[in-house]
């Protein structure tokens, strides 16, 4: 990998929750860097703090210690409007992240209005097209869409401000296995077409290995090691916990391997 400047960097990030005496450290001194155009994954079991990092980075939680930088500039605790245009997030549950009483067009028009972006109507049509939904989806309500279609709308909403960075919080774990493939293909294609940088959180190793080049294995609020997708595929882990985690996934697929072979 050629040494490029980091687009996103976390330096000594720590996040704690709770009142003074019962304060627990959820994220503990985490550092990582993501280069432009790279896809970085965070893996770990629930409660290890991976989504908390995403929320801190996206500006949803400003109560953190340490620094987060974007193109070498430290981000202020209160993010600027420009930041929200450049960094967008896709949430886990497409059933919860779309307003039930807004049609797709309105969902997509809102970020454009907020950021004062022109050509709203054309942009909506283009973005819907880019995520593989036809113009007929423009005037539908979320309840008229399937889970996979909703997640496409959620991705479209994130893309419409033409961001550089997408934060993906388990984007396929609420979906069926058969729909998962569609969304993963879409994410891969969009990244190449639009030169996006991804930070993706998942507990599914196969999904991370498919989308990301590098991933950090998290355990109890710390990144215990970083692996490339190649190392994940070949189960080359140094830490015992990572090895156990890899094993848990591989055993579940063992039968399939011999099946497809």
């Amino acid at each position: 990998m050629k040494p490029t400047r980091a687009l996103i960097e976390a330096i000594g990030l720590s996040i704690s929750f709770g009142a003074k005496h019962a304060r627990t450290r959820v994220v503990d001194d985490v550092s990582f860097r993501i280069n432009k155009g790279e896809a970085y994954g965070l893996i770990g079991e629930s409660g290890c703090g991976k989504s908390t990092i995403l929320r801190a980075l996206s500006g949803l939680n400003s109560d953190y210690d340490g620094a987060l930088t974007l193109t070498d500039k430290e981000l202020p605790k209160t993010r600027s409007k420009d930041f929200f245009r450049r960094v967008q997030m896709v949430f886990q549950d497409p059933y919860g992240s779309l307003h039930p009483r807004k049609i797709v067009e309105k969902v997509l028009a809102e970020p454009l209005a907020i950021h004062g972006i022109d050509r709203a109507s054309e942009r909506i049509a283009e973005t819907l097209d880019a995520v593989g939904l036809g113009p007929s989806f423009r005037y539908r309500y979320p309840h008229e869409l399937s889970g996979g279609q909703r997640q496409r709308v959620a991705i479209a909403r994130a893309l419409i401000t033409e961001p550089e960075i997408l934060l993906l919080d388990e984007p396929t774990s609420a979906l069926d296995v058969s729909v998962q493939a569609e969304i993963l293909n879409l994410l891969r294609r969009l990244r190449i077409e639009r030169n996006l940088t991804y930070l993706m959180v998942s507990h599914d190793l196969a999904v991370i290995a498919h989308i990301c080049e590098r991933a950090g294995m998290m355990y109890k609020g710390k990144i215990i090691e970083e692996l490339t997708s190649q190392q994940i595929r070949q189960s080359q882990a140094r830490q015992d916990y990572t090895r156990e985690f890899l094993q848990a996934t591989i055993e579940a697929v063992a039968r399939r391997d011999e099946a497809v072979a």
Binding site: G147, V179, A181, R188
Partner: protein
């Protein structure tokens, strides 16, 4: 082979709408013996409805019809609500997806398990409590005495699901219907819960109907797999024979999963062919 526990032939479940009615399950036939049978399909394929219909727990508007639907020698179709109450829990029990919603939040865990036992067996409270503690230990809960006194919100998701398993196994049913029992759980916890379920089911010779959308998981866990699509069973085959799956839908489901061992550029997206709705189905690699 001895007599199957469940014998269903040509099961149909229909919902009546104001204008038109909708068939959610269309002519499903299967048998379940003392084995682990997995039912796989995407949402809306009718897999959960099929499971629930065995206990007659389908929503009010659903109309169930079948040539026959038997549990051992009991005809489930004509069974009254009173007879069904005897079957539920006692002979057939059900593990639901999310322990957060399926445990009583106002009752201590131990008392819920004791209740499940005493509802079906004549036992004194002390005896039932001892049994419940033993059961908690069987699902590998450390310190069962402490957990016995906890409320559901005080335990983790994995522990909650193990408690559900304990509660469902304590009346010693003949058949367990598990409806996506692990999809709310983590990968690491999932394996633990499945191992426990597998061990208990195998040791007691209980039949298991395992409903899931994860073909992968079912393939490694069950003895036999039924693949459902749009209310029909597309393929019925032993899990070890999955690589010989004949139906294009089963094949595409297998190919759509991202794989750890091989990197691929693009995943195969399962195509859905309208002709499958009434097309051929396969049993054990043969046309049925």
């Amino acid at each position: 082979m001895d007599k199957p526990l469940i014998d269903v032939k040509d099961l149909r479940i229909r919902f009546h709408g104001a204008q038109r009615s909708h068939d959610a399950v269309r002519g499903v036939s299967f048998t379940i013996g003392r084995e682990k049978v997995g039912i796989v399909g995407e949402s809306g394929s009718g897999k959960s409805l099929t499971g629930r219909s065995l206990l007659k727990l389908t929503p009010k508007g659903a109309e169930i019809s079948a040539t026959h639907m038997r549990f051992k020698d009991i005809d489930l179709l004509s069974a009254s609500e009173r007879e069904m109450r005897k079957i539920r829990g006692n002979h057939i029990s059900m593990i639901l997806q999310d322990p957060k919603y399926s445990l009583n939040p106002l009752m201590r865990i131990g008392n819920q398990i004791v209740e499940a036992y005493r509802l079906h067996h004549k036992a004194r409270p002390g005896e039932a409590k001892a049994k419940a503690l033993a059961m908690l230990e069987a699902v590998q809960i450390r310190d069962p005495d402490r957990v016995f006194k906890l409320f559901p919100h005080e335990v983790s998701g994995g522990m909650g699901q193990r408690i559900m398993i304990a509660m469902m196994l304590i009346p010693e049913p003949d058949l367990i219907i598990a409806d996506e029992p692990t999809s709310a759980l983590d990968v690491t916890v999932r394996r633990q819960v499945l191992t426990i379920l597998d061990e208990l089911v195998t040791r007691r010779g209980t039949g298991l109907m395992f409903i899931s959308h994860d073909l992968n998981l079912v393939a490694s866990f069950c003895d036999r797999v039924l693949v459902m699509y749009a209310g029909r069973i597309m393929e019925d085959l032993p899990a070890s024979e999955l690589h010989n799956a004949r139906h294009p839908y089963t094949q595409s489901l297998l190919e759509s999963l991202p794989r750890l061992d091989v990197a691929v550029e693009n995943l195969t997206v399962p195509v859905r062919d309208p002709s499958w709705l009434d097309g051929p189905v396969y049993r054990n690699g043969e046309l049925a």
